[in-house]
Symmetry: D2
Subunit: 362 residues, 4 copies
């Protein structure tokens, strides 16, 4: 296990799906950052299963408690430990997955790696529930970034193949709040909701794409060659369960364009150096350009589905059939929007600290 991420702003994740709690320790946060329970709870509530279409019937209060690092409403420079309790657990369904692994899940390689000794309940460490810890850490990073004028907002841009039309970076924050899918286009959101409901009814699931935009990032953030923005963000976002791809700016489309069309020309806008378009997604040479950072993450459909699947009996080494009970999301994309934001916040906070853009006491 490698449960820490970051150099100057370093988060350490702990907790399992059906253990006592999910938690995180944030180390390296500057002293003097305003931080209230409500700042963290706000993001946790966006992640919490609620009225999102297809959200799991498992409901948890997810009420954050600070265990350390906050004093009189501000950070102190000390490590910040935060936890939410696991209240609503039902583990009986999971014991057999160690023997008949669920397709699309980590059951099989985990049982090999840990020789069957990992915690199987609710997927243990491999559950999407651990991303609640990512969100708690991200909420701290977000508070730090606000001091630098940086805003991080993600939204749902595709579900089940239904793609929302592009949304200007400046409008994402407001528009994604109009529906429970965090999609900036309401018409698309309705189609997406229908697709999710159809899948749910069929015991199936769907995936999608989350786009994240960052405004206010000054030029020069990133530490080439091995801690450029793209690499660091990619590692963090690909740590979110179910993410299978990431692209920046025009991404995979860029490789079909000629250089003359792919390059973003420089221009001057009110005394500020800009690019006249932003196909590079706000990153050149691993460094922020001052334009919006734009990235998209591909989420595969939830692997836990109700339809019968083919698997193997690891003990007998024979094929077997598996029907998964338990409680699952028919689509995790709407709940994952804030998780993507959180990981991006953590990485940018770390890189901004490394580059000296944020003082150690704000």
């Amino acid at each position: 296990m490698s449960s820490s991420l970051g150099v100057q702003f370093r988060i350490t994740s702990f907790g399992e799906s059906h253990g006592p709690c999910i938690g995180v320790v944030v180390d390296g946060c500057p002293a003097g950052v305003n931080l209230a329970v409500a700042d963290v709870q706000r993001d946790l509530d966006r992640r919490k299963a609620g009225d999102q279409p297809g959200a799991t019937p498992r409901r948890e209060p997810d009420a954050v408690r600070f265990l350390s690092g906050v004093f009189e409403g501000h950070t102190t420079g000390a490590p910040i430990a935060m936890v939410i309790d696991n209240v609503n657990t039902e583990s009986t369904a999971y014991t057999r997955f160690a023997r008949t692994p669920r397709p699309g899940h980590a059951d099989y390689p985990a049982s090999v790696k840990y020789n069957g000794l990992n915690d199987p309940r609710g997927g243990g460490r491999f559950s999407g529930r651990i991303t609640a810890g990512f969100v708690m850490a991200g909420a701290v990073a977000r508070q730090v970034l606000l001091n630098l004028g940086v805003r991080v907002d993600a939204h749902t841009v595709a579900i089940a193949g239904i793609e929302a039309p592009p949304c200007d970076a400046g409008f994402v924050h407001d528009r994604r709040q109009f529906n429970s899918l965090s999609c900036c286009d309401d018409a698309s959101a309705r189609l997406m909701a229908d697709a999710i409901e159809t899948a749910r009814m069929q015991g199936d699931s769907v995936g999608g794409v989350v786009e994240c935009v960052v405004l206010g990032l000054p030029p020069g953030v990133g530490e080439p060659v091995f801690a450029g923005i793209e690499g660091e963000v990619a590692r963090a976002v690909l740590s979110i369960p179910a993410v299978k791809g990431i692209e920046f700016g025009a991404g995979f489309d860029l490789c079909r364009k000629p250089g003359s069309a792919a390059n973003d020309p420089f221009g001057v806008d009110g005394g500020t150096i800009v690019t006249t378009k932003n196909d590079c997604g706000g990153v050149l040479g691993g460094l922020s350009t001052g334009m919006p950072l734009v990235l998209r993450a591909a989420f595969k459909p939830t692997p836990s589905i109700a339809v019968e699947q083919q698997t193997v009996d690891l003990a007998l080494k024979t094929e077997a059939r598996l029907t998964i009970g338990g409680r699952h999301d028919a689509c995790i994309v709407p709940r994952a929007v804030v998780v993507v934001e959180s990981m991006v916040c953590c990485v940018l906070c770390d890189l901004a600290l490394q580059a000296g853009f944020i003082p150690r006491v704000v």
Copy 2:
């Protein structure tokens, strides 16, 4: 700058495009690995500008020298430093880019970050030439992985929008050698070569996609949650200049499929647990499954093009026109194939060491 990558197998890159040399230090390599100059030179020669269509006219011998860590034909457990000299440098063209930054290059954000003090010659640290150091390190990692029976092979799957038909993982190593584009399909390779030549004649450039397949990786490699295979590989591959996206297995296509089609069923093949298809690309929960690891990296077109472009004069804060001279690749994809392999080798060697699959003395 953050010039080191890896935990147990750690590489440290140094050198600039027009400085004395390009180098790398590999620390943490197990003792007793057979390593000859030829093992490294073989990969360097694949990267070297030669008969690939559109390769830069800058020709360098790129002859590796071992400075440490190798004794009597094997590694010793000590750090391995390797360098190649920069022989063919012509720096006069570059001084003005600090003032009129090249679109698509790091010139502008780098000048902000380093206050104009970075080495501008040939792009300095931001030149693609530094990937020669990645290749030297990757060649060492490849030798280590051979002891584990792991084979890493990449190939060109798209250039300028021309996509080669899929190639079975087992055939990549042999088929990509039939042409200088490292493309497994000769007919596609010819079309790609034409597209590159057309771009070159127009003073333009093209990009493409490199796919990398890994055979022989045992199940259980990867250190969740923050050092899973996908995240670690993504960070390393996105450290290669010009890469703007990465996906694993079916990648972005996966998010359009229902879970029932996306999940890879488990099966038994000759006593071995397999998946009957491999849309997950050999990774579940950040862990290898034992199936081939498959990933694709999107390369944007070379930003250095001969056609006139719009930029700014940073001193005057006015718009300006720029025509780039110097020597550049019309398409770097064919030369980048071995660079992708190299970064994947380094990451997998590191993760296999961390997971205990490779002893510290082989």
Copy 3:
């Protein structure tokens, strides 16, 4: 703040003296290690203020709770979070120390570093109470090391200038248990207890020396040049508040001997390579030799004393007088014995994992 230590076995400390709790996260512990609450509680109880001469009147239950990483009595490979609650806190005495810093404490440099925003209650992060987290982590490391046959035992060898006669490494574990000072020589222990009591009566304090011996460490543990045993152990032990020096084997005495007397001759004992004496303390070139690892740590006297002291008023920049109330140890050495052991356990576990002596699943 830098609250993590270790590479493969990595501990992350959190909590303040008067916050809700003291905790630690242990990441990288192999799966399959037997670990019960009692294994951790045993070490915590040795650290807890009790019948040790001069122990603080602040009494805490220090009952450990596992928050993650343990399932059915064994570790799972997942991060192990552990906490003890702070129950008995009385913070009113501390607010003025931010303005009139206590001599010998971190109050002054901490107020500069954090601009007065650090948590002052009970010393906050600079309190010796945070070493309870070190002990919880060390107890896990100790369980891992038992699988390798490694035993770590410390004892009090000096207090207030009273030095106990040398004790053979093999007898430390048993003999130190005969008195509450953890001193292997009972006669010395009585003199030490008297010296502590005298200091306490005078409102003063005393320091001392803790020696730690490690049996069963195989040769070849340590990762030169920058993670040799001595350097890694020193860093960890000097992280314990009040430690001002460390030496290995004959230590500072070695530098007065000629080489012919300092060198430990090699010999053979029952087929095993040994040294016929152990002035090097079981380490050569940063590597364990297979002989007992021996080190001594110097603890300064508790800086919190009841006698009036000279300090400054930071607001007025004038000299001031300070009398410290609150509850303190007249001598922390007896309670620190297990803390030294704990840090040594953590470091050796980390180095043994890095060197491949401990598998990732035991």
Copy 4:
């Protein structure tokens, strides 16, 4: 092997005693630091065997070459690689030490760790010669620290049991230059030289103590709890071969004093907060106090001596006699003075960067 040290200012050591060269890569150095070959050569020349009493007859030019990271006389923010060639090597004497290990050397544990595959020539990676790389890195750190007004000076305070009288921190830089032993007291230096010469004539060796003082360090440097100044400095200094102990301020003597005498009272001197004495050595709670940082390192006598010693034949597992030829220092302390300074410079530069005292572009 773990050949890197530091977080923000990170050095990576490479090279063996009889390989092609000794080198180091410095990563994370701020851009814009003045750095000439002479700045590094100056420190290398202090380390070089020359007219110091007892210095090895092996003479090397030790002329540094910059391989990267410096442009037009200043650093660029890129990694700085530096090497010196090994010219004067004579390796025949060393092959037998793999079988009959030298007492006091790493031969035996290294042969176990690397299964006999490490480079034995001249001690390979375990040779004191690799500290030339430490010195090159330290020279860069020293240039960075000068921008912060920090001065690092070490001197010889004891050799062969001969102790020089204390020297005020402010006089060390000037006084240690009056003799080739870098001892601030000339009378002591003469006695030390005699003791070294006597040992050399007898085929024996002597050790000693180096004290290092740091002036100008602002209060608040250090990253508790695991990267406090004492711990970080100790790890770095104990990475120097032959160092067996370290203490800060009054060190081991502190543990014999009562708290009332050990504590350093605060005072005001010309508007600056000071302590009226400095028994804590300029560190409280792992943080610099603004007073001089003072530490002492104990060097054991050179283990390579000409007198016959007892060892074992590892192949036969029998006792054996060994007489070491080759070329060695009868006392390495005078040459080690600059090495201690170098490691302290590297650590303080790293911690000052982490704490935000040094900008990323100076």
